[in-house]
Amino acid sequence: MPFELTIVTPEGAAYQGTVDRVVLPGTEGEFGVLPSHERFLSPLKIGALEIETAEGRLYAVITDGFAEVNGDEVTVLVDSCQLEHEIDFARADVELSEAEQALDRVAGDEPDRYRHFEAALASARARVEVSRKKSG
């Protein structure tokens, strides 16, 4: 029995559809949601999201937010969501190494900048992860 998944960002709904299973990057580790999951709320961290539908598998990279599971409805609220067709896989590896270098350059006394680049790195890692999963 499939359920409804909606990914909402401040810019609008990024994804809406009937899915069989979704794997989310929770702050305490990845977790999967199957139909008739209990009512559940969990914060999410930057990472890859995996959607399984009748048509196949779909990946997306999200920033932090939270997920709300309510019966047959799963709502994911995040700042931004990049679906796999919006990701430039050819650049994923380059972006990752750029993000690593940028983070190295930031001095420890700039916590704001550090956090910013840390987030960029996590997001770059998630894109690489998705590109690996897609090709492998």
Binding site: G12, A13, E38, R39, L41, S42, P43, F66, D79
Partner: protein
């Protein structure tokens, strides 16, 4: 008697102005539509965020997040004044700036120290002239409002609140009532409060890892969402106000052209009559 050439020239310039105001009206109308669409797309996120936050906040104590902390002795207040970057939109910006000025004066009369953060170049210019010493952060919109900017403003304000540099943060912005009306209003952003009254009795959520941890994610985001919503209202209002302003400007030029054309025709008729009289009297003299 005004010169025929002069009148003609004036009609020419006014018609050119009219072309400009008419074009600006059309641009504003298109932008208004786009701004309204953006606002519409942002609403589900904001509604969902508020609903979840209300539900989660019910199950925990009041001091479960530092941004909820209501301070007894409010000494330092920060006003975030939102305006547009550009003018030519009637009283839109001066309205909100004057409202903010009155608000600041009122809080100062109560003995508070007020600092100002501006989002939008117009309010920045307004306060730079009057209260430049109180200005804190200044943001410009640079085109379309982005969530990233709202997040930036929100993070800075939250950090100051948590650090105790300010005891209260107030948002001042134009509320978009309709395409014809925008009213300035002030809303308390921090300490953050959720709607406590809720009539829906729903099953409690299983919250992983803990409600406190979830709040730590939710509350800062909810603050950003409030700012984003205010920025969007301002954006929609700006284009609506500009559209109205340009419409009335176009109407004014139409009226002017009409009066001037009338004047021109009269002057031309007078000139013809004068010439005729001259010819006739010349012929009679022969």
């Amino acid at each position: 008697m005004p010169n025929l050439k002069d009148i003609q020239r004036r009609i020419g310039t006014i018609k050119k102005t009219q072309q400009i105001t008419r074009a600006m009206r059309m641009v504003a109308a298109a932008k208004l539509r786009r701004a309204q669409e953006t606002s519409g797309r942002a609403r589900p996120y904001a509604d969902r965020m508020r609903a979840t936050l209300t539900e989660v906040a019910q199950g925990v104590s009041e001091d479960s997040h530092p941004l909820f902390e209501v301070r007894e002795n409010v000494r330092k207040v920060e006003a975030i004044v939102i305006s547009s970057d550009r003018g030519l939109c009637g009283g839109f910006n001066s309205g909100v700036a004057k409202f903010a000025e009155a608000f600041i004066a009122r809080r100062e009369a109560e003995g508070c120290e007020v600092t100002i953060t501006t989002a939008g170049r117009r309010s920045q210019e307004f306060f730079k002239r009057r209260r430049s010493g109180q200005l804190r952060d200044q943001y410009a919109q640079q085109g379309w409002v982005s969530y990233a900017q709202a997040a930036e403003i929100g993070k800075a304000a939250s950090a100051r609140f948590v650090a105790g540099e300010v005891d209260e943060v107030i948002l001042v912005f134009n509320e978009f009532v309709s395409a014809m009306t925008q009213t300035p209003k002030d809303v308390r952003l921090l300490p953050f409060s959720t709607d406590t009254e809720t009539d829906q009795e729903s099953l409690p959520y299983e919250i992983e890892p803990s409600p406190e941890r979830l709040l730590a994610v939710l509350v800062p985001k909810a603050v950003e969402v409030e700012i984003y919503q205010a920025l969007l209202e301002n954006q929609t209002g700006e284009h609506a106000a500009r559209m109205a302003a340009m419409e009335s400007a176009t109407r004014n030029t139409e009226e002017l052209v009409e009066t001037l054309t009338l004047q021109f025709n009269r002057a031309r008729q007078a000139a013809i009559t004068r010439e005729l009289v001259e010819i006739v009297s010349g012929a009679e003299a022969l």
